[in-house]
Point group: C2
Chain length 358, copies 2
DNA sequence: CAGGCACCGGAAAACGTTTTCAGGAATTCG
DNA sequence: CGAATTCCTGAAAACGTTTTCCGGTGCCTG
């Protein structure tokens, strides 16, 4: 071997040829494998890819050579000719990673590890950064894109002329011709209400976050509607909108206890708010759940599981959403592009902050 | 799932030539640009890459053609010949993304968006999954790797024969010849103590997490040592190890209040623990910070900023750690490989749970 | 024994770039 | 005016694969 080019002496970049038994996925190429196995590159390729037109004995020889050199095929070259990079881009605007991470994990599950790798790009809510990332990803010839928003409201479409399929997760695209996957906030709220009603609660209040969030509206209307179907009304007359914070949870609870001291359950629009609610209930010596039941939303584990008592809540099934996004993306890559908004159901997580009355 | 896929009629692979004004980073290649500009591929390449050997007028023509076709160079092909993929792998085992996300963001900052893209892989603490991801990343010819651990204790090295440089972040590698970047737990603890002492506190207790964590040990010993330098001792005689949970924070605080009712500050080993501490202090009607000051560790925003009162804490500077990791990786890629463990200083975040005594 | 067939392996083109090298035109100099 | 120099452009090789096609065996069949 080594013959090839002894130019190494001069060049400043000492990319010298590796020794024969090069460990690690170094610069060993299919040619090296072929040479060691005593076959041509073409045959080596076919042998390793399980093509039928190669004798078993030959194949074995090639495979042995490959692992002896710990050959690892150059995915870039493969992608160049197959026109598939085997990568997808996950474009998020979610600072905390609260939503992206579970979705990423779901997606990783759905794509096999050795099939697809994921580029993660955080646009940080900045539009120009998003365009930059988009350019970069397209330039890398990703096979598809998953766009994860920071909040469950519609976001501008990336556009319809994009050369690769796109799936929007969590934040739907404003363009209904795109395919979007979102959590079922209405359904989740109904679950929460059903749970409380089933436990004998009748005077249920709802404290939730910023009214400009679609999620807040959906959860509130889901709650109101479902209560109505049970022949009930919201304690405190209306949903209390505010902000997604513990502080608001505390403030709203104090106010609420003034207005209707006889309530027996509070449905909080998020786990953060629920923490604030719990805090004030303790302060006011109201026992949870025996006097007042509390249920949250999101199943943000660090908040919900560590609450006192541990918080019943509605899980968003984000990981499943990620898996689904990946599956839909796969389908789209294979030519089966969908459109519209698809909804992923929530899941009730029962802990100790809710219990049957009496 | 509408129309679209009904192309099945004819060829299954409809890779036809695009129309001239193809928008989106489609299949438009440098050849197309060259043709439109009336030059050769070679010249087009040089023109776009700012090579000096091309006339200004020609360059302009090429550039115009390129943007007219919205040409976007195929990074795979580029990587194939330059031997640089322009990608790095971020290999994490950190489920929640509590540590990975800030580090990822720091790394993204340090790499320019259009220079380097990041593959994010979550091994979920599973060793074989990690090997798989590693294989895949090497196969994709990443230019480097950042390995992010889930806890700040040494982890097994990926090995020294890896063909690409590796930087370990948060969890150091067990092999001292690797380069690792970690947070300064000892220094952070000293900061916390200094802060409390400066505010006139003298009877300071320390409640912290799992004793098997290096972080717990480091923070504890940092606290003890620094107190000693101030001529003080830990209230409650020793650091109280337990678990990284609110529940332990609550339990330990109750116990501590029994043993030394006169303490005037609690240094918690994490923000979670601090939340538990605050909870019990309220319950016992001890005013924070006037009677007892509380300081946490981690600056986990959702916990610290929303506490009542907002929690002073020690920030881990994870984003900076990520930036630094990226810089070190760059250096290593350029041949300047380092080794050993480098420490990133913490930062004191003052909120309302600490204040001068009296 | 000639022709057909199944089987196996190799040569070569292709993917989309970058880079080296050579050559033509225009300019300058002696 | 011829030669040397500078400037620009293009042809071709290279990167590491996959895939198509073709040719050479050896074997069976007529």
């Amino acid at each position: 071997m080594s013959s090839a080019s002894m130019d190494g002496s001069s060049s400043q970049k000492s990319r010298g040829r590796r020794s024969r038994t090069d460990a690690g996925g170094g610069a060993v190429t299919l040619r090296d494998v072929a040479k060691l196995a005593g076959v041509s590159v073409a045959t080596a390729s076919k042998a390793l890819n399980g093509q039928p037109q190669v004798r078993a004995e030959t194949r074995a020889r090639v495979v042995r050579a490959a692992e002896q050199l710990s050959f690892s095929p150059n995915t870039l070259a493969q992608g160049l000719i197959t026109q598939r990079s085997g990568t997808v881009g996950l474009l998020t605007s979610d600072l905390e990673g609260r939503f992206s991470m579970p979705i990423l994990m779901g997606a990783e599950d759905a794509f096999g590890v050795d099939e697809i790798s994921v580029f993660l790009c955080d646009a940080r809510g900045d539009n120009v950064r998003e365009r930059h990332h988009l350019r970069a990803l397209l330039s890398r010839r990703v096979d598809g894109l998953i766009v994860v928003g920071a909040r469950p409201d519609a976001r501008p479409s990336l556009g319809r002329d994009l050369a690769v399929p796109v799936v929007y997760a969590y934040s739907p695209s404003a363009d209904p011709r795109d395919l979007s996957l979102v959590t079922d906030n209405v359904g989740g709220a109904r679950m929460a209400i059903d749970h409380l009603v089933q436990y004998g609660r009748r005077r249920i209040a709802h404290i939730t976050g910023d009214a400009t969030y679609g999620a807040a509206q959906d959860r509130a209307s889901g709650a109101v509607d479902r209560l109505a179907e049970h022949g009930l009304e919201l304690a405190g007359d209306q949903p209390w909108f505010g902000s997604w914070s513990e502080a608001w949870g505390r403030g709203a609870t104090r106010m609420l206890l003034q207005r209707c001291p006889d309530l027996d359950a509070i449905f909080a629009g998020s786990d953060e708010i629920a923490r604030g609610v719990l805090d004030v209930l303790h302060q006011e010596k109201l026992a949870v759940p025996s006097q007042v039941a509390v249920i949250g939303f999101d199943n943000w584990n660090i908040l919900a599981a560590n609450a006192r008592p541990p918080l019943s809540t509605i899980d968003l099934n984000l990981e499943q959403l990620g898996r689904l996004a990946a599956q839909r993306l796969f389908a789209a890559i294979d030519g089966d592009v969908g459109s519209g908004v698809e909804t992923v159901p929530c899941r009730l997580v029962t802990r100790e902050s809710t219990a049957p009355l009496g």
